[in-house]
Subunit: 251 residues, 2 copies
């Protein structure tokens, strides 16, 4: 179509189609830059630019001094791109709340759906996840993992990989927040209890109840997240005050 197309884009498109067609198989290494340079009869600049492009679109995963690894993109890679793009929005309290709100909305809808349409197997998995969750109440790290696993069952039950990717993205976004939360066995217990109530509501096919409990559950979680947020604000305030003093001294 367009004759004036940047060279890197053409190379990237060629490689992209080879990745999609399987000529470059998933998980294998990309040829070295000098090999590609040779093959495409172009400069290393262009090759490296093309690699950067493919990386940004999720066709490759690159580590600083290593050969790029080919990755046939799925929905997860699509979402891995948003992760970076939105990362900055998570430092803003309102942005994070907006995001968390969509999660609440999503999971409320999920449990409603499950309460109405859960199959036997879904129930079994939920039960198992709940049990694993119970075993870890006294271990915050392990509890966090099983907590995630419990929620993941909800997404998985949709039988559509996109939901799983969405869940993983939420987790990734919230991970840094969780790492700043203090250990609190009481919180674990509360979360477990709420999980149990959700499970029971689904078991009893009570969509209203399931949705309601999930709403409460996640609003409670939000309070935890918000708390870490305010902790940080206090810290920065303190450090600002400190630098303020320093500047006074300088004056």
């Amino acid at each position: 179509m367009e004759k004036v197309e940047r060279a890197a884009i053409k190379v990237a498109q060629t490689l992209e189609s080879e990745i999609l067609s399987g000529a470059l198989s998933d998980g294998s290494n990309l040829p070295t830059e000098r090999q590609l340079l040779d093959r495409f009869c172009t400069s290393r600049t262009v090759i490296r630019e093309a690699i950067a492009l493919l990386d940004s679109r999720g066709y490759l995963i690159t580590k600083p001094r290593h050969r790029p690894i080919v990755r046939r993109p799925g929905f997860d890679s699509a979402f891995s791109v948003v992760r970076n793009a939105a990362s900055q929005l998570l430092t803003d309290a309102q942005g994070l709340r907006n995001l968390f709100e969509t999660r609440i909305f999503m999971e409320k809808a999920l449990v409603r759906h499950l309460a109405l349409h859960a199959r036997r197997d879904d129930i079994v998995q939920l039960k198992a996840a709940l049990e694993a969750n119970k075993q870890c109440i006294d271990n915050s790290e392990a509890f966090y993992q099983t907590d995630i696993a419990f929620h993941r069952v909800l997404y998985r039950a949709m039988n559509n990989p996109i939901y799983v990717s969405i869940h993983e993205t939420y987790i990734l976004w919230l991970k840094q927040r969780w790492q700043q939360m203090p250990d609190c066995q009481q919180r674990n217990q509360r979360n477990y209890d709420e999980h149990t109530l959700i499970y029971q509501a689904i078991l009893e096919r009570d969509a209203e109840q399931a949705e309601k409990i999930m709403g409460q559950h996640l609003e409670n979680s939000w309070q935890d997240v918000k708390m870490t947020f305010e902790l940080i604000r206090q810290e920065t305030k303190i450090s600002e005050a400190a630098t303020g003093e320093a500047s006074l001294l300088i004056d």
Copy 2:
């Protein structure tokens, strides 16, 4: 933290923080590469790499032979990144269905929410969108726009910009499909009727009914989308057959 960090990343981070702080104001041009080169005491290679990075993360919009334009990212830019990343998945029938399924799920949940919590203003906007929709039944292009506008009201009613971005992304993904649909006034009429039923259900605060109609509405839409998909498949089949004949002739 890490002493072994790629130079381009450091430059990108510096520029990123300047964009976020407003030192580089939204809409303004980035300094020329040579100016940046001078400022950061590094090679043009690194500068260009940093620019590519910022571009891929939505902090800049670049046109081939022009200065990059600074863009303070919002949720929409975050989603604009997914648009590219997922575009290839839309050529796969299963991928598109998975995507459409999430839209159905989302909008069913939206109308349920609206039926339960719509405020007077939301109703007014829905009514207006519906009326505009009605006026365009005989004009597919205009109908398409008002159709989108009607659904957009649902997302907007959540008072959270993320929902709007999600909607825009769905629209963008499906746009190319719609462009391949044949004009069909009958289809417009059907869609309008369904919109009306949804509106009425919300008006009557009948969440179940609203959700049900929305489900039917979007499943019908899916049939339209799917149809365009099969049209393409037939065409490629035909062209393949043609090339097959050609090769026979060559033999």
